[in-house]
């Protein structure tokens, strides 16, 4: 069984369009994340949710809107896509470390978005 699954794996779309990426985890974790990996492999956090509550919003343009209908799902909707949005978007989840710090993250396989 896939622990963190995200769909679609590939997205090719025109500038100005709106698209969504869905993510689900079956690990029972409380916290879910969206990360963005650029063409130079730099991985940066965008959002995190803990039990459906937004915890981190890392100065992402408000064209990006995460939605967490329950703690097993975290979707990402992107409005008015721009060329610079082309990247690989990773969903991840974690339960947190025993010391209350951030423990191991479990990543999905990524969704490669190409904006033409």
């Amino acid at each position: 069984d896939t622990a963190v699954s995200q769909t679609p794996k590939y997205l090719v779309t025109q500038m100005g369009n709106d698209k969504s990426i869905k993510c689900e985890q079956n690990l029972g974790h409380d916290t879910m994340y969206w990360y963005k990996q650029d063409s130079k492999k730099f991985l940066k956090i965008m959002f995190s949710y803990n039990n459906k509550e937004l915890i981190i919003n890392e100065t992402v343009p408000n064209r990006f809107s995460p939605k967490s209908p329950d703690k097993a799902h975290l979707n990402l909707h992107i409005n008015s896509l721009e060329l610079g949005d082309s990247a690989v978007y990773f969903c991840a989840s974690s339960q947190g470390g025993p010391a209350g710090d951030t423990g191991e993250l479990f990543f999905g396989e990524g969704s490669r978005l190409t904006v033409l």
Binding site: Y35, K41, F42, I45, I55, T102, E104, L105, G108, G110
Partner: protein, 114 residues
């Protein structure tokens, strides 16, 4: 920023050799983690080392942490072609850091030739 930086950016070795990758960071941490990413795949957690630990082992992996130098190293012994991947370190920002905010570097691309 706290962003970790891996060194070298790329490493090419023969099977059976050891591979050493380094990570430097800027502020205090609670823990440091190493991840592996195969081409076109998601990141997979390898090992977590806490700020009060100096060394940790997991199979062929050995991680060291020097908080005075704000650096860590990942050693893969007796490398195999299947170890070919990008390796990333990730850190939080220590006491009071927001749960889940990890800072990743750009990774070291390891190529192991058969």
């Amino acid at each position: 920023s706290q962003q970790g930086e891996e060194d070298p950016q790329a490493l090419s070795i023969q099977e059976g050799e050891n591979a050493t990758m380094n990570c430097s960071y800027k502020t205090s941490i609670n823990n440091l983690q190493w991840y592996r990413q195969n081409s076109g795949r998601g990141l997979v957690h390898l090992i977590l080392i806490r700020s009060n630990e100096r060394e940790k082992h997991s199979g062929r992996l050995r991680v060291t942490l020097d908080t005075s130098k704000k650096s860590s190293s990942l050693l893969i012994t007796a490398s195999r072609a299947a170890d070919t991947a990008s390796y990333f370190c990730a850190t939080d920002s220590g006491r009071g850091s927001t749960l889940g905010r990890l800072y990743f570097g750009r990774g070291t691309q390891l190529t192991v030739w058969p």
